[in-house]
Symmetry: C2
Subunit: 145 residues, 2 copies
Amino acid sequence: MDKSSLFHQFVSFTATVHQVTHDLTQNVTIANITPLQYKILEYIKVSQPVTPTEISDCQHMSLPNTSRELRKLQERNLIEKISDTEDRRKQYIRLSIEGNKMMEEAFACIEERFLQLIQHATQDDIKDIQQALFILEQKVFQQKI
Amino acid sequence: MDKSSLFHQFVSFTATVHQVTHDLTQNVTIANITPLQYKILEYIKVSQPVTPTEISDCQHMSLPNTSRELRKLQERNLIEKISDTEDRRKQYIRLSIEGNKMMEEAFACIEERFLQLIQHATQDDIKDIQQALFILEQKVFQQKI
DNA sequence: TTATTTAGTTATCAAATGATAAGTAATGGA
DNA sequence: TCCATTACTTATCATTTGATAACTAAATAA
């Protein structure tokens, strides 16, 4: 087995992953949120509390643009900014009650669609899928370049 | 094992996939190509010949916008349009020599980075990865909603 | 203390992308 | 033949996103 043909399998796989995640997340954002804002909220949801700099790094956007989007999200009461007591330059961002509710609903919707995707999976299938996810995470995706 | 905790593992996994593919494809597009144009070329590369309608459907963009981007790509001699002899409304899009060369280089660059990612994988690891990709494709990603 | 660095903001501009209306030309059905 | 549909184009406008300069305030190093 050569690594080059594994590459082709990998490319095809990632294309499918992107396709499926697009389908799963399509139209979950009922509120008037831009795709970028959704991605930011999603990141805050799973990593809160986070600083603007962290968002900037992880979402590959400049700090000024991050600041702008966070301001819009705060104006819509979806997030809260809490300044660090130690270092008063720093801020911690977390979802507001409203923002959290919105993201919970979004995730519930995605989960529902995901469960449809694996509705025919047996208990053994589930175990296989879990194992496969684990192997890929460990042997491919958590490697550093 | 319940399906709900599998969902969380899945979400985390897809986030990692997006992260890694972003890193792999970063800065591969030396030519002055927008991200959208790159994605279109990538799709043409692996699926050619394709019609504008197919591109429109698969890339989730309107036909007018597809037409606009294809015009730009043709102006830069990266693609060719061939009209169908049967149905003269239809067109087939394929990469030009130049466009193909560009995409070959892009893929080579991505492959190089991918190989770095799995440089420490043994022959057994490769087999495991292959098997994991196969299982996920089959049991999760190829399911229809 | 003073200078430098860090964290974030505000403002502004340009480019990319999305949405929509109106059009052409070919096809296919009634 | 006439009408509806399909495939695609052109034009235009709005929105989103990216890039950059100039700024404030706090922390840290010299």
